[in-house]
C-alpha cells in the first residue's frame, strides 16, 4: 500500500514537472493607446459606435483586430511588438479620416516597441466649443458655441443638436433618460446656442445626472459629442442627502 502511494506520488511529481514546460507565448505586453483629436483637442463620440481596425501583415490571412473608441474618443489595445496599420473604416465617425486616391481609408503605420501613446488626427465637421452645463430648478441647461471646421465643398449642414441626460456616465442617443432637441435650421447664432431639459424622477433617487451635447451632421451617422459632465442638483425632499 505504502509502495503504491509512493509510486503515485512519484508519478504525480513527474507529471507536474513535465507539464510545467513553457507551452505558450507570453500575453501581449505592449499597450497602444490614444485618442482621436483635432488640433490636440479630443473628440467625443458615442461609446462602442465608432470602430477602428488594426492590421498586421505577414501572418497569412489578413483580418482586422478591431475595436471601437470610448465615448471620450479614447482607445487602447494590448499588442505584441511589431508593425501595425491602423484605419478607421469609411463612413464611421463624425469626422473626415484621410483617404487614398482610390477612396479607401488611408492607414497610419505604427511601429510598436513597448507601450506607446498615439493620438489620431482627424478633421471633424464641427466642434462644440465651451460647453457650459448647469443643473438648477429641476433642469439641466447647456450653452455652447458651434464652430464649423469643414467649410469647403464637402461641408455638411447640421441636422440637429441634442442635449442628453442620463443616470449613468454613458450618455448618448441610445442611453438617456431625457433629451432636448434643436433642429439645425433653428440655430440662428452658432456662437450662442442654448438647450434645456427637464430632469425626470429617477429610481433610485439620485442628486446628480450626467449630461452632454450631441451634434448630428446631415448625411453622417455618428454624432459628435461634448465631454460628459456630472451635474449635481438639489432634490427638495431629500436635502439631507445633498452635499
Amino acid at each position: 500500500m505504502k509502495v503504491i502511494s509512493h509510486y503515485i506520488l512519484l508519478i504525480a511529481i513527474c507529471a507536474s514537472v513535465a507539464s510545467c514546460k513553457k507551452d505558450n507565448y507570453d500575453a501581449p505586453e505592449s499597450k497602444l493607446s490614444g485618442r482621436i483629436v483635432y488640433k490636440g483637442e479630443p473628440i467625443g463620440v458615442e461609446n462602442f459606435q465608432v470602430p477602428y481596425e488594426l492590421y498586421q501583415f505577414g501572418f497569412g490571412k489578413v483580418g482586422a483586430i478591431g475595436s471601437s473608441f470610448g465615448q471620450d474618443g479614447s482607445f487602447s489595445a494590448k499588442l505584441f511588438d511589431g508593425q501595425y496599420k491602423l484605419i478607421i473604416p469609411n463612413g464611421q465617425g463624425p469626422f473626415k479620416w484621410k483617404q487614398t486616391s482610390a477612396g479607401d481609408p488611408d492607414s497610419v503605420v505604427i511601429n510598436l516597441h513597448g507601450s506607446q501613446t498615439l493620438d489620431l488626427d482627424v478633421t471633424p465637421y464641427y466642434m462644440i466649443r465651451t460647453p457650459q452645463l448647469t443643473a438648477a430648478g429641476g433642469k439641466v441647461s447647456a450653452t455652447f458655441k458651434i464652430e464649423k471646421i469643414v467649410v469647403d465643398a464637402t461641408a455638411k449642414p447640421i441636422e440637429n443638436v441634442v442635449l442628453y441626460i442620463n443616470k449613468t456616465q454613458f450618455v448618448s442617443g441610445g442611453d438617456n433618460i431625457e433629451r432636448a432637441e434643436i433642429a439645425g435650421s433653428a440655430i440662428t447664432d452658432p456662437n450662442n446656442v442654448s438647450l434645456q431639459v427637464n430632469i425626470p424622477a429617477t429610481i433610485p433617487t439620485q442628486n446628480y445626472v450626467f449630461a452632454r451635447i450631441g451634434l448630428k451632421i446631415e448625411g453622417i451617422e455618428d454624432r459628435i459629442f461634448s465631454p460628459v459632465q456630472k451635474n449635481y442638483f438639489l432634490i427638495p425632499s431629500m436635502c439631507m442627502l445633498c452635499n
Binding site: V62, P89, N90, G91, Q92, G173, G174, R179, E221
Partner: protein
C-alpha cells in the same frame, strides 16, 4: 515427393484463382451510390434529387426556421426568457441577417451541377428535361435573389467551378462581387427565360410554376427599382464599383418590368389565380388564407409544404405560439406577441387612421362593455392577423386581462397569471388577472396580444410530438397585386395602382375604394405592412425604401410617438408597446363596474431600442471570406 506434388497443385490452384483480370475484380458497380448517368436516367430519381434542392431553399421568416424568425423589428414582443435580448439590445450587429456564405455557395454549386448533369442526360424525355431544368434555374435565381437582398452584389457563379490542385492557383476560383443591379438582372432574365417551361397551373404550389417565376420576377424587379429610386436619399450606402447601390436612372425600367410581370399573373396568363374570398367573416377569411391548403385556395402561388399524417414533416410554430391557456402542450406557448405599434396601424373602415381609443378628449378612460369593442370598426385583417383579448381560438377564448382597476384608479392584480385573490372588501377568492397575462412571465401575452397568422387550429397541432403542417406561403397573389400597385404608382399611374390596391382592401372589409388621389408613398408602405405582416417582408421592404434607419433610429418610442402619425411611412417604431385590458371593480358605480378600460404599456422587459445603422443595410461579409478571396470588397459603412 508426394508432399511436393500436393504443394505444387495448391500453389497452381491459388495462382489460377488469383489471375482474375483487374477490371473484373475492381470495377464493381457501387450498391450504395447511384452514378450520375443512372440517377439522371429516371424522372423519379431526378425528382428526389430536386426534392433535396427544394428543401434547402433559403427563407428569412419560415415556419421551420423557428418562431424567432418572425419576431423583432418592434412588430412583436418576444415572450420567452431566452429571447428578451431582441428588445434589450440597442443595435443590430453588422453580421445580422447575413447568410451562411460557405453553405450557400455549396448549395449553388450543387444547383449548377444539377443543371449540368441534367443537360448531359440522354435518357430523359425532353418535356421532363425542360421542366426539371427550369425548376433548377428557378431555385438558383431565387437563391441569388435571397442573397442580393441581404448582401447586395455577390459573386455570380453560373457553372460549377473546378479547382486544379496541380496548378495550385486559387485566383481561377476567386470571383469578385457582381454589381447589385447585375444580380437583379440575372434573376429577372432567368425568370423570363424559364417562365414558359413551367406549368401555368394554379394547383402547382410546392413546385416552381409559371406564376411562381413571374412572382419572383415581380418582387425582384420591384426591389431593384426602389433601391435605384430611394437609394438617392442615402448616397453613403453605395460602393464605387456598384456592388451596392443601383443608379437612379435604372429605376423606371425596373418598375416597368415589375408591373409587366405582375400583370401577366393578374391577367391570368399564368393560371387562374385570385384573392381568397371564401368565408363570410372577413377576419376568419383572412386567417384562412394561411391555413387552407386545398385547391379552393387560389391565392397561394409558391408554398413550403408540410405534412403531419404519417409523414412527420412538420414544424413547431403553433407549439411555440399558441395561447398559453389553450395550449396543447402545457408550458409551451405564447412566444410571439404582436405589438401595439402594429395593431395601431390597422386603419378604420372609413379608410382613416386613428389610435386605438383608450382615453376620451378629457384624458379620462373610455369604458367598454366587451374587451373586443375597442377594436370594432377596424380593418378585418387586424383580427385575422392578431389574436385579440377574448379572441377565439380552437373554440375557446383567450384570457388576456391585466387585472382590476379600483374606484381610485389603482390596479389590483397579481404577478402570477390566473391567480385568485380576495378583492378589497370581499371574502371570496376571484381570479384577478388573465391566465394568458399580461404579466411579465414568459409565454404569456405580454403585449396583450397573441399571433394568429399561421396559427394552426387543427386538433393536436400544438403538441410537440405531432406538430403543425400549415404551409408557409412564399409568394401569394395579394402581394402581386401590391407589387403591381407600387410599380404603377411609381410609374405615374395612380389610378391603376388604386384599382389593384382596392382588390386587396375589399377582401379586408375596406369597401370604400381608394381613388387615384389617395395613393401616396405612405399608403403603399402602410398597405404592405398590414397585409404582409409576419411574412418576412418588414426588414427588406424598409431596407429597399431606405427608411429602415429612420424608423429604427435608436430613440426610445414614447407614447406620443406611438399614437401620432399613424399610417406614415417614416413613423418611429423602436420599441414594442403593449395594450393591457383592465376590468373595472367599482361596486358603488354600476355605470362602470365590470366594464373594461385599456392602457398602453411598454412591457417592463423592454430596455433597448432598435437602431438600424447605415452599415446594417447590407450584411457584413466575414473577414475569413474576404481573406480567402481578396477580390470581394467590403460593405459600405462597416
Amino acid at each position: 515427393m508426394k508432399k511436393i506434388l500436393s504443394i505444387a497443385i495448391i500453389t497452381f490452384l491459388i495462382g489460377m484463382s488469383g489471375c482474375k483480370k483487374d477490371s473484373d475484380f475492381l470495377d464493381i458497380p457501387p450498391i450504395q451510390i447511384l452514378p450520375n448517368d443512372v440517377a439522371f436516367s429516371d424522372p423519379a430519381l431526378v425528382l428526389s434529387i430536386l426534392g433535396d434542392l427544394y428543401n434547402r431553399q433559403v427563407d428569412f421568416s419560415s415556419l421551420d426556421n423557428g418562431w424567432r424568425s418572425f419576431a423583432d423589428f418592434s412588430e412583436s414582443f418576444p415572450s420567452e426568457n431566452g429571447s428578451y435580448f431582441l428588445v434589450q439590445r440597442n443595435d443590430w450587429g453588422y453580421g445580422e441577417w447575413g447568410i451562411d456564405w460557405a453553405g450557400t455557395y455549396t448549395y449553388i454549386r450543387e444547383l449548377n451541377l444539377f443543371l449540368e448533369r441534367i443537360g448531359a442526360s440522354t435518357a430523359l424525355a425532353s418535356a421532363e428535361k425542360t421542366r426539371f431544368t427550369a425548376e433548377g434555374r428557378f431555385l438558383r435565381a431565387n437563391l441569388y435573389f435571397e442573397m442580393v437582398k441581404r448582401m447586395g452584389g455577390v459573386p455570380l457563379i453560373k457553372t460549377s467551378l473546378q479547382y486544379d490542385p496541380v496548378k495550385n492557383d486559387p485566383s481561377s476560383v476567386q470571383i469578385p462581387r457582381a454589381k447589385e443591379s447585375e444580380v437583379y438582372d440575372f434573376v429577372i432574365s432567368e425568370a423570363e427565360a424559364i417562365k414558359n417551361d413551367l406549368p401555368a397551373d394554379v394547383n402547382v404550389k410546392s413546385r416552381a410554376s409559371k406564376a411562381a417565376t413571374l412572382a419572383m420576377e415581380s418582387r425582384a424587379a420591384l426591389y431593384a427599382a426602389s433601391i435605384a429610386k430611394y437609394g438617392v436619399s442615402t448616397p453613403q450606402v453605395a460602393l464605387p464599383g456598384g456592388e451596392v447601390g443601383i443608379p437612379a436612372s435604372m429605376a423606371a425600367a425596373y418598375y416597368t418590368k415589375a408591373l409587366a410581370a405582375s400583370q401577366e399573373i393578374i391577367n391570368g396568363n399564368a393560371g387562374a389565380y385570385q384573392i381568397y374570398n371564401v368565408l363570410p367573416d372577413k377576419s376568419e377569411n383572412f386567417a384562412a388564407v394561411f391555413l387552407d391548403k386545398s385547391s379552393v385556395n387560389q391565392e397561394a402561388i409558391l408554398i413550403e409544404d408540410f405534412k403531419a399524417a404519417g409523414a412527420g414533416r412538420t414544424h413547431g410554430y403553433t407549439t411555440n405560439d399558441q395561447p398559453y391557456s389553450i395550449s396543447d402542450e402545457g408550458g409551451d406557448a405564447g412566444r410571439l406577441n404582436p405589438s401595439l405599434n402594429l395593431v395601431e396601424s390597422f386603419e378604420k373602415l372609413d379608410n382613416t387612421f386613428a389610435p386605438i381609443p383608450t382615453k376620451d378628449a378629457a384624458a379620462n378612460p373610455i369604458y367598454y362593455a366587451n374587451p373586443q369593442d375597442i377594436f370594432a370598426g377596424r380593418d378585418a385583417r387586424l383580427a385575422g392577423t392578431v389574436l385579440l383579448p377574448n379572441g377565439l381560438f380552437k373554440g375557446k377564448r383567450v384570457d388576456i386581462w391585466a387585472g382590476y382597476v379600483l374606484a381610485d384608479g389603482s390596479v389590483f392584480t397579481s404577478d402570477e397569471a390566473g391567480q385568485l385573490k380576495k378583492l378589497p372588501g370581499t371574502t371570496t377568492d376571484v381570479q384577478v388577472v388573465g391566465k394568458d397575462g399580461p404579466v411579465s412571465i414568459e409565454f404569456r401575452a405580454q403585449s396583450g396580444f397573441y399571433i394568429r397568422k399561421y396559427l394552426d387550429p387543427t386538433v393536436g397541432s400544438g403538441r410537440r410530438g405531432r406538430g403543425s403542417d400549415v404551409a408557409f406561403i412564399r409568394y401569394r397573389y395579394a402581394e402581386i397585386l401590391l407589387n403591381a400597385a407600387e410599380a404603377a404608382f411609381e410609374l405615374g399611374q395612380p389610378g391603376v395602382a388604386a384599382g389593384y390596391m382596392n382588390q386587396v382592401r375589399a377582401r379586408a372589409g375596406l369597401t370604400t375604394p381608394l381613388t387615384a388621389g389617395d395613393i401616396t408613398f405612405d399608403r403603399i408602405v402602410h398597405e404592405r405592412r398590414v397585409e404582409l405582416a409576419f411574412e418576412g417582408h418588414t426588414l427588406y421592404d424598409n431596407k429597399r425604401w431606405r427608411i429602415a434607419h429612420i424608423i429604427w433610429d435608436g430613440t426610445p418610442t414614447t407614447l406620443t410617438d406611438l399614437i401620432s402619425n399613424i399610417g406614415t411611412a417614416k413613423k418611429r417604431s423602436t420599441q414594442p408597446w403593449g395594450l393591457w385590458p383592465y376590468k373595472v371593480y367599482n361596486p358603488t358605480n354600476p355605470a362602470t363596474n365590470g366594464k373594461w378600460i385599456f392602457r398602453e404599456v411598454l412591457p417592463s422587459v423592454v430596455s433597448g431600442t432598435n437602431r438600424f445603422q447605415l452599415g446594417n443595410y447590407y450584411s457584413f461579409i466575414d473577414d475569413n471570406i474576404r481573406a480567402a478571396n481578396p477580390k470581394i470588397v467590403r460593405q459600405p459603412n462597416q
